[in-house]
Assembly symmetry: D2
């Protein structure tokens, strides 16, 4: 059983979630993919670093992330900082020859992400971006449906990721509303998850056109303040997309969609079938086959089960609900396996950089009110 030593940068909610996922990867998959060992945790806050060290079981803590990326014992640098720091930490980690596990998005700009993807390739290390929805067993199943040809030629995609988390206008300004920290609004925070799934399943988007809207234009500058500050980015965004594979689609995202809690939903239409899915009903995939007998044709509600890749790590029979965290556990296991055994994985830095290129084109098309071609590196991934 190979030990894999983790150095965590960022001790907030996401850092805790990453650590828990490593623990559960071991519990659910056993030690074949390597045993995570929690070496060092850093945070700018002394208190946060110290407490995380104790609670999460790290061997030591520091307030200087440079120590983490330089630590000889560390195998994987795990980046769970605010988004604006991803670039700097990831770059330093790569330069020190570390495997890197970076929470999504890779960086705040397509250029920086592309630079990191190239650097990672040079270094030959594992480079993993945490687009956890890709790991959902539902998407493994949907990918199988597409690749098997059961849905025919793929002609249409429509998807949305909507929440109402920022609908309340009395909520104050945070980093999410300020572009230098967030890059964009609903698009980068939520929409990028939808883009990751879309790219995984259909391949790259070729060109986009966009409408974006800031619904709540000013918010309290701080909690309870009467002073107002500007919201700089999209609360709500809608996109037309042409895919490289010829499909056309609509993509949207909102952080002000009343009643939508975690509504990541998408439908993929083919000439011989359609599949649709919603993360709010995480354990159900709906699929229709034109090959069924005419009188009995209908969308099938398929519960995830051992027939679908990833599921059986958790339960021995279909219909026992997996939860959101379980996607993160599958992600942690795939990462550990890549490090310990060199197994392939989907969400590498190039994958992440392509998403950031799409995000960049979307923002440009919204600003220019015209069609923009996405700068894609290579061929279709799907």
């Amino acid at each position: 059983m190979k030990e894999i030593r983790i150095g965590l940068v960022g001790a907030g909610w996401m850092g805790k979630a990453h650590t828990n996922s490593f623990v559960n990867a071991l519990l659910n998959f056993g030690p074949e993919s390597g045993k995570p060992v929690f070496e060092v945790v850093s945070d700018v806050s002394t208190e946060a670093a110290e407490q995380a060290c104790k609670q999460l079981g790290y061997s030591r803590w520091t307030t200087d992330w440079q120590e983490v990326v330089q630590d000889e014992k560390v195998d994987i640098v795990d980046i769970a900082t605010p988004n604006a720091f991803h670039y700097e930490v990831a770059k330093a980690a790569l330069e020190n020859g570390k495997h890197v596990y970076c929470e999504k998005p890779l960086t705040l700009s397509a250029e920086q992400s592309t630079e990191l993807a190239e650097l990672a390739k040079q270094k030959g290390v594992v480079n993993y971006v945490g687009y956890n929805n890709v790991m959902n067993p539902a998407n493994a199943y949907i990918k199988d449906l597409i690749e098997s040809g059961k849905l025919g030629q793929i002609i249409g995609f429509s998807g949305t990721y909507a929440q109402d988390s920022l609908l309340d206008p009395s909520l104050p300004i945070t980093w999410r509303h300020i572009n230098k920290y967030s890059g964009s609004g609903a698009l980068g925070d939520l929409g990028s998850h939808l883009l990751s799934v879309s790219q995984f399943l259909l391949g790259n988007i070729e060109s986009v056109n966009t409408l974006a809207k800031t619904v709540i234009k000013k918010r309290p500058a701080s909690p309870g303040s009467t002073e107002l500050a500007d919201v700089e980015n999209d609360d709500l965004i809608a996109i037309l997309a042409e895919y490289e594979n010829g499909a056309i689609g609509t993509i949207s995202s909102s952080r002000v969609a009343a009643g939508r809690k975690n509504y990541l939903t998408y439908e993929i239409q083919g000439t011989e079938g359609t599949v649709y899915y919603s993360l709010e009903r995480m354990n159900e995939v709906n699929v229709y086959f034109t090959s069924d007998d005419s009188a009995d044709r209908g969308f099938r509600t398929v519960f995830l089960g051992p027939d679908h890749k990833g599921y059986s790590a958790f339960y021995p029979a279909a219909g026992i609900a997996i939860g959101y965290n379980d996607m993160k556990v599958l992600e942690a296991n795939e990462l550990l396996s890549a490090v310990s055994k060199g197994t392939p994985y989907t969400c590498d830095f190039e994958f992440g950089a392509q998403i950031d290129q799409t995000v960049s084109a979307i923002l440009e098309s919204a600003a220019q009110k015209s069609w923009i071609t996405v700068k894609n590196k290579g061929g279709v991934i799907a």
Copy 2:
């Protein structure tokens, strides 16, 4: 009880449906709105005209529609011809001072529709276009939700009308595939219904951008033929829309959406609530209010009932399913009432012409790959 004499032009499936709707309007609403009397039916086919006359209970038949529009006894000219003939018949009927009931779409061009709308206004007659979905009690309820302010400011719309009626590539070319008969593909046939609902609920669209796709580019020139003919228009279309009221939206339509049978569905997002609806579950409106207690907040599945305008003509209690035809019955009753009593109605020729202007702008934006401003007549309808 005033008698209202109907002259029907076109004795096909839709002509029969119109006639049945008049009969059921009388059965369900009683004679207050006037009693329809079936005066004359015309069809280019002698056999069709004669048979319709006998089966549907008209007093006489003709193969010359000019006789219908000139008949002194006829009060309403009911146009159920193929779409390409709407303009000519409607114009002649108006010029003869008849009330006109024209199946949707009004004509195949925005210019002709606008011309008819102006002529109808001059003549002062009832001019009604059969966008029956507007009459759905679900939409009366949704309109109430919007106008009451219960949903707050409306910020987003997304809708689709998808069917798989033309997914089978062995189905031959029909008038639907040829622009001089149809104007457009899925857009005009299905999408226009969605536009009618959108326009009724949110008011006019200001500008559009579009992606259109012909999936099955050639079809048998005739049933069973090995010769192929070109499909000229959209199987699948996706649109970004800016509304005059500031909302943004996505609108799409498909006639090749595997598994979708009559999937006219839409969601309207406001700052204090969201409502969504699907015609496949015709009797259910789903609505969410941010004003509900936090722990108990969720989309409510509201069954149509006597509280919703139009429903109580059919049943005395909620949850007893109305069907598709019942929308047409409500339409027929509204028309009869307008003729007999001068009551207001929604779907006049101006309403129809505005839809055709939107259709025209959508087609132009698809052709030019750019944003196009819709030529709207007046202010927001909603």
Copy 3:
């Protein structure tokens, strides 16, 4: 085209519904099954009789139902009186050799119903009970699924018919609450519809055991009154049933089920598949086949369409919603066809009498708190 002359007894809501159904049967099916002619209508109320005559298009009216059953011109006596009068009118109609169309339930006692069934058989006339849910195209489809063997051996049934129509305790006493007028409460009013479907699909029930509950024990003696009167029968009832075919089941009914509007729902389990259905989503049948590929197995949501018997009278393509009244139209057409052409039909008086025997056994089992064997006439119907 054979004319079939209707004599209606009872000019209330149900009499109107029957008449409309005859009209629509002709409109939707054409005159092949005979043309209904509205000969005479009777009601104890002069005003009701006179008004129904005029509005519904009968040739004449009377306040004496005996005139109807004796009228030589009348072919079908259509009984839409309060339930307590069904027996007397139906018996007189049969004795006069008339075809009889009796709204459900046949009578208020199993003995009287059995007597009528035997008399009808002697007379050789059409004898039809209005259990309209049996005519639902959904049930034609479900019956096909069962008889084709696609579901394997049938082992379980569970169903409920729940409404909240009488949940409000301020609603006054009506005939529904008094056994001499109603026979029973939720059981006879709603539950009998579920029994009709169960009997049509699975055949006869062999024995039953029951729990019944009167939730609102007293109600205002009249609208607005402060005087209270006793509710004599079940608001809520639950039944265990053994079927002659070996299946076991649970059957329940309620008129005080908060939120349930027209919740007639049932599930049938077989060794190779399961089907479930709810009248609140009238156009959808859900079916699961164990023969589907393991990874793709799930309940299919099948929309009613031309593949399912009865549907194509209304629409040419699947997914266009039929409504509740359309079941009554199918019923009227089946009746007219039986009269004019001698075609077979399901809901004859023997069918109705068997339901009443089941109701009788249920009431006895509730009273005795023990298992009661149902007095069934013959073999399994299914």
Copy 4:
């Protein structure tokens, strides 16, 4: 941070699940409830014991469970053996003054369970039965709805727990089919979970009547064998229940329900509202309030979130899916808290014994075909 030392008896799938739950309880709740320390694991299989020790992180292993219950360092004896051994191990653990955590069911007989409940009370130790569904945040919410009076007086319950895990007749005989190992069939295995929820929410059942059916009467005596052995117990069972609080209900369970994967579903009807739930859609509770405005009344689909007890241990916002295992984590945390801090808990041995009394009455009523009164200890729990 108090250490709580676990001694596990039974190293199979459930033993692993218990251990993982302790780990995740610590990860999600922090060390306030005590830190689980994995002291010793026993299994009759040397290999299983040794491997579990290594993989799950126990300090030592043994093949003699007596060592575990007698070990001075052990605080909690965790019983994850086959059901037939629960009684013996639990009794010995109690006699040694240990806290006991016993997987459901408590024992195979109501008498033994009652004996254990009394012994546990004498000893004053924590005595916990693993009816994990009780810990579902959905049930915490439903319990709040009932206790707040928002649903009015509770009048009806209907529930089922159905799976198709044993529908395939080629699956061989296992301990589940033999009463000396299982006590009963679907009833004890699945139905008892439904009884636990019913008892938690509505309190005790007073009397029952039952229909039980063995669908597949013989199975291969061993995997692949042509020799057949008898199935001794219920594949399918249906129960009428009278509750002590006056409600009536139907309860059923099946292990041969085609298409049902983990269909634990129930509906609770009150005079002012109804709530229903299905574990297959684990994160959604559906609730209806008669107090809502008439036009806007409908079942609300409420996603679990921080407003509902237990949820916020996992996620900071509503709609992020919890999974099945998370109920077990909540259970483990409640147990640890009870041991370390004396906090109250629901599923004690008395709770478990009452379920076993209900099971016993159900089996007796099926055998005798008559109503049987449940031997309940005390008053209503709810």
